[in-house]
């Protein structure tokens, strides 16, 4: 933890005690300062701590030129540390360098005037769309001309890549410009579609997508691809876009050609690979390392996406290359489950119980005689998360080819934990315990009971609870 993070460690709870009006004021003040530039790290850390209450309070976010600039591609943004570009997605860390480039290429007075006009204006205000449209048109022209200039020779291109700090940002710039050039069409589609992510690909949704693809090809034939990728970004199950393409092809929509299905499946497969890569990088360490329960949920979600992508690849007949790519990703995901959820489970759950002071209660266990400490909070939290992760992972283990292993692990751990807890309770019987020791014994008992419940269900766990309480009272 850095110094700033340490200072903020206890802040999250306190932020819920500030009256709402003051909290809204504080958010506005911090956001304003964030835009002034300079070292914004402490402000960002503070805003991150404030996010849980911001979700509740929903303070009105400041309406800015930058916010408008991003609106047409909002659904395509994703967080990643990977430098590998993904078809149809824009890394969130590309926004700042690209927007800076737009500012450099634009008239400062114009931007200032628009900023002033937008401040205090609701995002739903129709006037806001008009200003947005002006921003997108200007940005499309200015940024496209930067790109054209950069393509004159390799040196110019290299300069631009350096300026943007990476080839992946340069690729994102191209995608952003592609979208900005048809931003009005994209916005019209976004407005007509139901709120994102769209759960059901209804006939109405397909119709809206088809109509806007037709409008997009009037600008340039390739723009149907851009629009398709934006549409996929709006869907909860993006692989269902194949169904939409089939239906639109049957209607003989002029914008539909076979290259679109190829593009869609490629986007699905590279999208799945990217998510896998992001998870891998997170696990290897960095700013964000998910706990095992979160990881198990992410894996479940990705396993579902991969299944969807696989059926899309098969239905599109797009060759074995993509199929093999998906198989490789599936194997990596399986390895991830094995290494991060199954393999460490004994260590996280059972050893935590043994090595923490609960172990001291077990006859023959490590450190007999130490009755004075409750279980370690952090280890206990990890153990519970791991137990939940195991239960969740058992559900999709079959799809990843781990069916037997997950169930076996669950069963072994259930047995071990139940027997350890039983021993612990037996060792409590007939002992004289001071108040402190009794509290510690009680905390250890409930910690074990909870873990047994997560792994084996409430009946076994409750039997242990009742026996434990009886032993403590005796």
């Amino acid at each position: 933890m850095t110094g700033a993070e340490e200072n903020l460690a206890d802040l999250e709870g306190k932020l819920f005690e500030i009256p709402e009006a003051k909290f809204v004021q504080l958010v506005g003040f911090l956001e304003k300062n964030l835009e002034r530039g300079g070292d914004t790290t402490p402000l960002r850390l503070l805003l991150a701590k404030m996010r849980p209450r911001m979700v509740q309070v929903r303070p009105p976010r400041r309406n800015t030129v930058k916010r408008q600039f991003c609106r047409p591609f909002e659904e395509l943004l994703y967080n990643t540390k990977s430098l590998v570009p993904v078809d149809g997605r824009i890394p969130r860390n590309a926004i700042d360098p690209i927007y800076k480039l737009f500012e450099e290429e634009s008239d400062k007075t114009d931007l200032g005037a628009m900023e002033l006009e937008l401040s205090g204006m609701s995002v739903d205000d129709p006037l806001c769309d008009a200003i947005g449209s002006k921003i997108w048109a200007e940005a499309a022209v200015n940024l496209r001309s930067v790109m054209v200039r950069s393509q004159r020779d390799s040196l110019s291109k290299r300069d631009l890549i350096d300026k943007l700090k990476g080839e992946h940002i340069y690729k994102a710039l191209g995608d952003v410009v592609d979208i900005l050039e048809i931003a009005d069409i994209v916005q019209s589609m976004r407005k007509q579609l139901p709120p994102r992510p769209i759960q059901t690909l209804s006939t109405g949704v397909i119709k809206i997508i088809g109509e806007h693809m037709d409008k997009a090809i009037r600008f340039a034939p390739k723009k149907a691809e851009t629009l398709l990728l934006v549409a996929m970004g709006c869907l909860e199950k993006p692989w269902e876009i194949m169904e939409a393409l089939e239906k639109l092809a049957l209607e003989q929509k002029k914008s539909i050609d076979p290259t679109l299905s190829a593009l869609a499946v490629r986007a699905l497969v590279t999208g799945a690979e990217q998510r896998l890569e992001t998870m891998r990088l997170d696990l290897e360490g960095g700013d964000y390392k998910p706990d095992s329960e979160t990881l198990a949920r992410q894996i479940a979600d990705l396993a579902k996406t991969m299944l969807g992508a696989k059926s899309a690849v098969q239905s599109s007949g797009q060759g074995k290359g993509l199929d093999r790519q998906l198989d490789r990703a599936r194997k990596s995901l399986r390895d991830m489950v094995t290494v991060n959820i199954l393999n460490g489970a004994d260590q996280s759950i059972v050893s935590n119980l043994l090595l923490s002071d609960a172990g001291a209660f077990v006859t023959g266990g490590a450190g007999i005689g130490s009755w004075d400490l409750p279980p370690d909070e952090q280890k206990l939290r990890e153990a519970e998360q791991r137990a939940v992760a195991l239960r969740l992972c058992a559900r999709y283990a079959e799809e990843l080819g781990l069916g037997g292993e997950a169930e076996e692990k669950l069963s072994v751990l259930q047995g071990q934990l139940t027997s350890l807890t039983t021993n612990m309770i037996e060792s409590m019987h007939g002992r004289f315990l001071s108040t402190k020791q009794r509290n510690s014994a009680e905390a250890n008992l409930y910690a074990s009971v909870r873990l047994v419940e997560l792994l084996a269900g409430p009946d076994v766990a409750n039997d242990l609870r009742l026996k434990g309480v009886e032993a403590l009272e005796a």
Partner: protein, 376 residues
């Protein structure tokens, strides 16, 4: 033990006692259940939407562990409630926090329960400091003043003693009487909190959150398409419940604030003040009972897919706390009658119930546990 139960479609109880208090179970089937009864032997649990029906099942409280497969947390909570002196919102809250504190609903719920129990104490101290400052500010005769910082030091407390003694004289009391009254008064109002108190009490925050929550339901409704009539109506109903409950709760909370704004008058009429404060606090706690669950249920869905939000909204509807008929001012009874009728039509049974009667829906259980750990 006999396990008899009855169903009822009568949705508008006359009194809070008849409506009952929400028991924050983590067994999905019992998530919106309420306990009622004068004493444990006659206590009943009201379970809405059981077995796919729209009615509310009324089951003897003692039979609950035999009739349902409960989580360990709920078995412990059931035992703890059996030992409670009464089934008021306050006692059920104490039992719920005591059970969650054991860690049987996970680490977050455990930490939150500990923090709640600690905060209850600190809120009493804050309320006492605040009342003392207000009394000094409004009643000190010789222009004496006191600050919060001073109250935390020994010298400051001696100063406070001196000022309060002279104020007590103007009331015809001695220092101890005034101090005791301030103690009792602050203990009473701390349960709800005061508008101007530097720390916001959970009940006060709940009242403050009802209005924006209602507006948010109304806003969310606008995003529903024509083929989503049910959830659109649900969002409207939730918005209406929020608005009407907020209106009612705010009226009572303002009463408490007013007495504190005029401390001299309130202290001179001490018996009336404390009786009325206790009555108002008691009523507010009953009005607000169950809303914490509603607020958190909806908070949990922030940023989640629309379909998940619709499902949570169905849960919200099952949880909406009704204000009983005789507890309402005559002017609000028509409005509430409409709301209660709509609720009767719109309430849906627990989803995935078949699985839940056999085992426990693991994901749903975890979601309910998370509610306990979530900030308000």
């Amino acid at each position: 033990m006999t396990t008899s139960f009855a169903t009822s479609e009568k949705f508008w109880p006359l009194t809070f006692g008849e409506r009952g208090v929400l028991v924050p179970f983590t067994t999905p089937m019992l998530a919106a259940s309420r306990i009622r009864g004068p004493e444990i032997k006659k206590a009943e649990i009201l379970v809405p939407g059981l077995s796919g029906g729209k009615g509310t099942y009324i089951i003897p409280w003692k039979s609950v562990p035999e009739m349902f497969k409960l989580t360990v947390h709920d078995r412990a909570l059931h035992e703890s409630i059996c030992e409670a002196p009464d089934f008021s919102p306050r006692q059920i809250r104490i039992a719920a926090l005591g059970t969650a504190r054991l860690g049987l609903a996970g680490r977050d719920a455990c930490a939150a329960a500990r923090a709640h129990l600690q905060r209850d104490d600190s809120l009493q101290v804050t309320a006492r400091f605040f009342l003392t400052l207000r009394v000094v500010e409004r009643m000190a005769t010789d222009g004496a003043s006191l600050t919060l910082a001073e109250l935390t030091s020994v010298a400051g407390q001696q100063k406070a003693h001196k000022i309060l003694s002279s104020i007590a004289k103007t009331l015809g009391w001695d220092f101890d009487t005034l101090y005791d009254h301030l103690e009792v008064w602050s203990k009473t109002v701390a349960q709800i909190g005061l508008t101007e108190m530097p720390a916001e009490a959970p009940a006060r925050r709940l009242i403050n959150r009802l209005k924006p929550l209602g507006e948010h339901f109304a806003e969310w409704r606008k995003g529903e398409t024509e083929d989503q009539m049910d959830s659109s109506a649900d969002a409207q109903l939730a918005a209406d419940f929020c608005r009407e409950t907020w209106r009612l709760a705010t009226e009572y909370a303002t009463d408490i604030d007013l007495t504190v704004k005029q401390p001299a008058e309130s202290l001179r009429n001490w018996d009336g003040t404390i009786r009325s404060a206790e009555k108002v606090v008691h009523k507010l706690l009953w009005i607000l009972d169950g809303w914490e669950q509603v607020v958190k249920l909806w908070d949990q869905t922030a940023g989640r897919p629309r379909e998940e939000q619709r499902s949570a909204l169905r849960d919200v509807i099952r949880h909406l706390p009704i204000v009983p008929r005789d507890e309402l001012p005559a002017t609000s009874q028509d409005t509430w009658s409409g709301l209660v009728n709509s609720l009767r039509k719109q309430i849906k049974p627990v989803s995935g119930e078949g699985a839940a009667t056999i085992g426990i829906d693991f994901d749903h259980m975890l979601r309910l546990e998370k509610l306990k750990g979530a900030p308000l």
